[in-house]
């Protein structure tokens, strides 16, 4: 922690960057911090409560942050993948951002509602994304801080969810998703918090032609979520920000995790923090599996 704070202070003092985006203790739990003054660097923290993917703040839409100047950003492994994704898709340039990686021992599934200071990761509260994480020590960084903590426990709560859904009949799955999507109010929070939803004009906002109705009707909700998942195939880094932000608690993580599985299994691509690895949906192979083609 001290190492991180000192590094941030130094970067700001030397004017290498104008803002360090990290985590701090807020009035109700951990939250993103924007440190612009070296004297405030002591506010920075990193622990398992730091669930947020800060890479979202690097999206081109975040004009009010870009205005501050050059950014240094604190990333866990999963966030580093999002930074790599933004570089890969030419949304940001590598030189324009200072990446401060932290070695990560896993994070919570949900930020605790009450301002608990210390948490132990358990099978019940650990994020499902941490299971088998290969990026606990990110490779994309300008600076890396911290000791590598022990491996986190594996989520017992959510690990089997996808298999469970796959076991259902198609009609049951249809019913399951119809129920989930019936709650959607199309507030688009899922898109806005997603680091990889960086389109300057989302297809769902286009009116000519209007592919996806803007009203939260069952049909439009389903079309929107289907489309977003397709666009996220090979992009999604699995940070689960969308699920966390959803005011209606739709389990969007089930979809992102499922699609990530499909992309891995079919094209051998896992989200990674190496920007030079090409995006799978832009790639082709002559020998892709085509068992679904009749």
């Amino acid at each position: 922690m001290k190492e991180l704070q000192e590094l941030a202070a130094k970067l700001l003092r030397d004017q290498n960057v104008q803002v360090v985006i990290g985590y701090e203790d807020g009035p109700a739990g951990v939250r993103p911090a924007f440190i612009t003054d070296a004297n405030d660097a002591a506010r920075l923290i990193f622990d398992p409560r730091c669930v947020h993917n800060l890479a979202t703040y690097l999206k081109p839409q975040r004009k009010h942050i870009a205005k501050l100047g050059k950014i240094a950003i604190v990333v866990k492994g999963c966030d580093a993948r999002a930074v790599a994704g933004l570089i890969r898709e030419q949304q940001i340039t590598r030189e324009n951002v200072i990446v401060i990686a932290v070695r990560c021992g896993g994070v919570l599934e949900k930020a605790p509602a009450k301002a608990a200071k210390k948490v132990e990761l358990t099978e019940e509260n650990v994020s499902v994304r941490c299971a088998g994480c290969e990026a606990r020590e990110p490779k994309l960084y300008d600076y890396i801080v911290g000791e590598l903590p022990t491996e986190p426990p594996v989520s017992s709560q959510r690990a089997g969810e996808i298999a469970q859904l796959e076991k259902m009949s198609t009609a049951e799955r249809r019913k399951f998703w119809d129920e989930q999507f019936s709650r959607c109010i199309r507030c688009d929070a899922c898109r806005e918090v997603c680091p990889m939803c960086f389109c300057l004009q989302c297809v769902a906002l286009r009116a000519q032609p209007q592919w996806i109705d803007s009203s939260p009707t069952p049909a439009a909700n389903r079309a929107w979520q289907t489309m977003r998942m397709l666009h996220q195939a090979g992009r999604c880094v699995g940070c689960l920000e969308c699920e966390r932000a959803c005011p209606k608690e739709i389990p969007l993580g089930l979809l992102t995790r499922y699609v990530a599985g499909v992309v891995d299994q079919r094209f051998g691509y896992k989200p990674c923090d190496d920007p030079s690895v090409p995006a799978p949906m832009g790639e082709i192979k002559t020998d892709d599996e085509e068992e679904f083609i009749r």
Partner: protein, 355 residues
């Protein structure tokens, strides 16, 4: 109004009779997946309701301003267009166990829905609804209802206000609607012990919220108006994602969009949907110009609307201090902190800098 005693049994039979006669009864209920999470939902009996068990995740807004509703339907014919209007009369309903902040919100939004021209869709539903509120157990440190002139024991917007006491509730009929709901259900006079118990609970709840935030000073709205150009707006919203989740869960955010949707080549509907000032498209002109181009301006709009624009026009703040926005915010924005910060800024430079 006098406080009267309403026993559990009496309330229970009231609910049963209402349900039997076709009145929809809405109350906070525990969700299937977690007993800590509550939602306002239709119930069949008092036993289904979780009264004063905490704050439902979403407010009552959706019952009066649905996230999407049809305004009219149209059909293209050879002669032109036929339009059919939606009826504005609504089904009678009783909301049991509404939190005071949610009830007050309805009365506040009534003002914008009925000034100048009347929004019959909202008002029709309001008319058909009787609201039975209950003393709020106070959720957590994000609550600040007392700071905005509401309170855990506030009767604003309520037809009946309940305070749990031994064996039942102390019921206060706040309106004629409430009086007729309670007619013949209550023991005429509550005994002094029950009244003392209720008063104690009310002041304890009030004290609990007051500790979270001081009351917003009278000059705050004017300060906000004067300091529209203050540099603080540029830095305060940095962590805001512009997702609008705050507006979705807010009991008083009422902005909407009107869109047409085809159903097929000749028929379709015009709908009204929730909208949020936190999104870029909210104010985007078709020319591409956007008067609020970045999150700083959009965030300012939300705060200004709640604490300056609305008070100037309608005489009260567009906020009931429920704290839902702070709880939902994926970026950790906190309204108690934001408003507190602005208030201390206004105290330190009440001259109106930065215009």
């Amino acid at each position: 109004m006098t406080n009267e005693f309403l026993s559990h049994a009496s309330l229970s039979s009231l609910i049963a009779e209402l349900v039997a006669t076709g009145t929809r009864v809405i109350a906070p209920v525990q969700t299937e997946d977690s007993p800590d999470r509550l939602e306002y939902k239709p119930v069949c009996s008092l036993a289904d309701a979780a009264l004063a068990a905490g704050q439902p995740r979403l407010s009552l807004k959706e019952l009066f301003l649905p996230s999407t509703e049809v305004l009219l339907s149209y059909r293209q014919t050879k002669e032109g267009v036929e339009i059919r209007e939606v009826p504005t009369q609504a089904r009678p309903q009783v909301i049991l166990g509404a939190l005071p902040c949610d009830a007050a919100a309805l009365e506040i939004v009534d003002k914008v829905m009925s000034w100048d021209s009347k929004d019959e869709l909202w008002l029709g539903r309001r008319e058909a609804t009787t609201i039975v509120s209950i003393l709020c157990p106070v959720e957590d440190s994000n609550c600040f209802c007392t700071a905005v002139g509401v309170g855990p024991d506030s009767v604003r917007g309520s037809d009946v206000f309940l305070t749990p006491v031994e064996g039942g509730y102390l019921a206060e009929a706040c309106t004629l609607k409430g009086q007729s709901l309670l007619e013949g259900r209550t023991a005429d006079h509550a005994d002094p012990e029950a009244i003392a118990e209720a008063e104690k609970a009310q002041s304890a709840a009030r004290k609990k919220v007051q500790e979270n935030a001081p009351a917003i000073p009278a000059g705050f709205s004017a300060w906000l108006t004067e300091n529209f150009g203050h540099p603080v707006w540029n830095t305060m919203a940095l962590r805001c994602h512009g997702c609008g989740a705050c507006a979705s869960v807010c009991p008083t955010c009422h902005c909407f969009d009107i869109v047409d949707e085809h159903e097929n080549a000749t028929e379709g509907v015009r709908r009204r949907n929730w909208d949020s000032c936190q999104t870029a498209k909210f104010t985007l002109h078709s020319s591409g110009h956007n008067p609020r181009p970045s999150q700083s301006e959009r965030f300012r709009q939300r705060i200004e609307h709640k604490f300056s624009v609305y008070p100037r026009r309608f005489g009260e703040m567009l906020c009931t201090g429920c704290g839902r926005c702070s709880r939902i915010c994926p970026g950790g924005m906190n309204l108690v902190e934001i408003v507190g910060g602005l208030i201390s800024l206004s105290a330190s430079n009440s001259g109106g800098a930065g215009q």
